[in-house]
């Protein structure tokens, strides 16, 4: 009889997400899964509501990436009403979006990925946290991260309303233009942002790349999966967060396909497992072959490294230099090492900052013509953006009055769910092979496997006690609890 180990965060106050590890009769791992709780009833909740409410509703789904949902939803409304926003409206949306990506990535690099690399994968548990990162990079850098983040969020609020409840995007444009008097503040912040992003790359270079032990961890087979990769690209196949076509490359890096938001249902299907509420997206043309990698498996990956793999470069100079350095260092495209997501995130920080500066400095950015009024009868709308954690699809269908009759979202973490399961599985196999390792080391090994993806399962979790408590329950062949490991 198979055994099961559960790593369970238990309650809302302690965070969400669960890891299930199934053992065979001999005590070896037969399979491990990362379970992300799915919020219940979104489709039913959306049905019957005016489509124009969706950018506000969906941005409140979670407090981590409201701007991504708001923007994907707004683009779906453009499509729904068949309206093309004025050029400045697109620029303003992309400007806000670039700020958001930069802020989110910076937070991840310093405070989420930081414990793994800035502090170090083998550092004592007591140091492997945000305070440990501050201790390593220094208080002044810590203050700079917090200050930069606050300034960026203030700028989003200045133009788009509350960060958590943005009221910026409208079908056909945006709610308000940038006042000429506001432009210098955006430009100044963008210059600081570029400098900060480049500084972050230098931190990564000094702390990580100059440390052979860290590089060995990044390139280790335990954290490697040869999957397909997906990301939004512009007309020159360069990474774009806001607009473009979705490009997919195979595990050898060859273009597998390109599709638009409208074509996502032809490209992606969803697999259902009995042990999870999450539907696992896979490439329809390849098919679902289980939780395996390789060219015969439809499992694909999204988010920073996937975006870089799926592209042919970055659209800004410094970011493209960093992009070239990454692939040159790690042996060319595509890079399959999960822990390289952290590095790819820094490359994208530079791109976001440079793009922010380009847009803030654009002489047309204060053009007051920010909206084209929609006149078409609505029917179907689909929108896509690159959220920090990967490709995000919004799909609405309405009646002629614009009232939602069907809604579907495929969120970024969901797109990565199958590959995250692969990563957890590999870590778990190592975990149980290493039965003499200490408990916290085992937990950390598993955590590192999924932390690189920055999975967002932040469905209303405020976490007053503070820790994403992980618990591992080890059960014998009869299902009896024989060991419990907790953080």
């Amino acid at each position: 009889m198979a055994q099961r180990i559960t790593i369970d965060p238990i309650t809302r106050l302690e965070g969400h997400g669960k890891i299930q590890i199934f053992l065979d009769d001999s005590g070896k791992v037969s399979r491990a899964y990362f379970q992300v709780p799915e919020l219940r009833g979104f489709e039913q909740f959306a049905v019957g509501r005016p489509a124009e409410d969706m950018p506000q509703i969906t941005s409140r789904i979670c407090g981590v990436c409201p701007t991504a949902h708001h923007t994907a939803s707004t683009k779906a409304l453009d499509d729904l009403y068949q309206v093309d926003p004025p050029p400045v409206a697109k620029k303003l949306r992309e400007l806000i979006y670039s700020i958001f990506m930069l802020e989110d990535h910076a937070l991840h690099f310093y405070f989420l990925g930081g414990p793994d690399f800035v502090v170090g994968p083998t550092a004592p548990k007591a140091e492997r946290n945000i305070l440990g990162v501050i201790g390593k990079v220094g208080v002044e850098v810590g203050k700079r991260v917090i200050g930069m983040r606050k300034e960026l969020r203030d700028l989003i609020s200045l133009l788009g309303g509350k960060v958590i409840h943005p009221v910026f995007g409208l079908p056909g444009g945006v709610a308000k233009p940038m006042a000429p008097a506001e432009q210098p503040r955006f430009v100044e912040a963008a210059k600081n942002a570029v400098e900060f992003a480049l500084f972050t790359l230098s931190v990564f270079d000094q702390v990580v790349l100059k440390n052979k032990e860290y590089v060995d961890v990044i390139t280790s087979e335990m954290y490697t999966h040869r999957t397909y990769y997906m990301g939004l690209v512009d007309a020159k196949n360069r990474v774009n967060f806001y607009d473009g076509r979705i490009r997919v490359v195979d595990p050898q890096g060859k273009e597998f396909g390109v599709f638009t938001a409208r074509e996502y249902l032809e490209a992606i299907a969803e697999h259902v497992e009995p042990w999870s509420y999450v539907k696992f997206p896979y490439l329809k043309k390849i098919g679902w072959k289980g939780f395996v990698d390789g060219p015969e498996s439809g499992v694909f990956s999204v988010a920073p490294l996937a975006r870089l793999n799926a592209s042919e470069g970055m659209a800004t100079r410094r970011a493209n230099e960093a992009y070239e350095q990454l692939f040159a260092t790690l042996g060319g495209k595509p890079v399959h090492h999960t822990l390289a997501f952290h590095w790819a995130r820094v490359v994208e920080m530079i791109y976001a900052a440079e793009r922010f500066l380009e847009l803030a400095s654009d002489p047309e950015i204060t053009d007051p013509n920010v909206r084209t009024l929609p006149t078409a009868v609505p029917k179907v709308g689909m929108g896509v953006v690159e959220a920090p954690r990967g490709t995000l699809f919004h799909h609405y269908e309405t009646d002629e009055a614009g009232v939602i009759t069907r809604a579907n979202l495929i969120v970024a973490t969901q797109n990565n769910a199958a590959r995250i399961a692969l990563s957890v599985d590999k870590a778990a196999r190592a975990l149980l092979d290493a039965t003499k390792a200490n408990d916290q080391g085992l937990l950390n090994m598993v955590e590192m496997a999924f932390r690189a993806y920055d999975p967002c399962h932040a469905c209303g979790t405020h976490s007053i006690p503070g820790s994403v408590a992980l618990k591992i329950f080890v059960r014998d062949a009869e299902g009896r609890l024989i060991r419990e490991i907790s953080r």
Partner: protein
């Protein structure tokens, strides 16, 4: 000219799209207009490190949030000071708690409120999309608001209560 930040903050946490998760926000709504000018009542769907912004320049903070008990039936509204919670450092900024934020703010020299009190309301379903809370949770809003008034009242000078 910018208004000075009121020294006392009553902060309702939650997501009003997610059924019972709205309870912190609903209690905060109930408390609007209950206090003198030195008390600000706010609500937010933010969490993790994002709460740091709310705490800057505050002296005393009452956080109103929900918790999921093992068994909802028989569970009661809980009160505690931050010191009693026993925070550990999270590796994730999305989920860092108030104790972790306190350590970060102190480490960075940003100060931290001298008192943080927590009012935690039991809920049964914080994950279903709905604007309507469970009746049993709705019934706790008045009690939670009354306890919040009592807690904050004790922080005010006698003349301002």
């Amino acid at each position: 000219m910018l208004e000075p930040t009121p020294p006392i903050l009553v902060l309702g946490l939650g997501n009003d799209l997610l059924k019972d998760d709205a309870v912190g926000i609903r209690v905060a709504e109930k408390l609007q207009g209950s206090f003198p000018g030195e008390v600000e009542v706010r609500s937010t769907s933010s969490f993790g490190l994002a709460l740091l912004d709310e705490l800057i320049d505050r002296e005393k903070v009452l956080v109103i949030d929900s918790y999921v008990p093992q068994e909802f039936v028989g569970s009661e509204i809980q009160e505690c000071n931050l010191d009693e919670v026993g925070d550990s450092q999270s590796t994730s900024p999305h989920f860092v708690g108030l104790g972790g934020i306190r350590e970060i703010m102190r480490k960075l020299g940003l100060g931290f409120p001298s008192k943080v009190h927590i009012l935690a309301i039991p809920v049964s379903d914080p994950i279903t999309f709905s604007y309507e809370m469970s009746p049993a949770v709705t019934a706790l809003v008045d009690e939670a608001a009354a306890r919040a008034r009592c807690i904050v009242g004790a922080w005010l000078p006698v003349a301002a209560r």
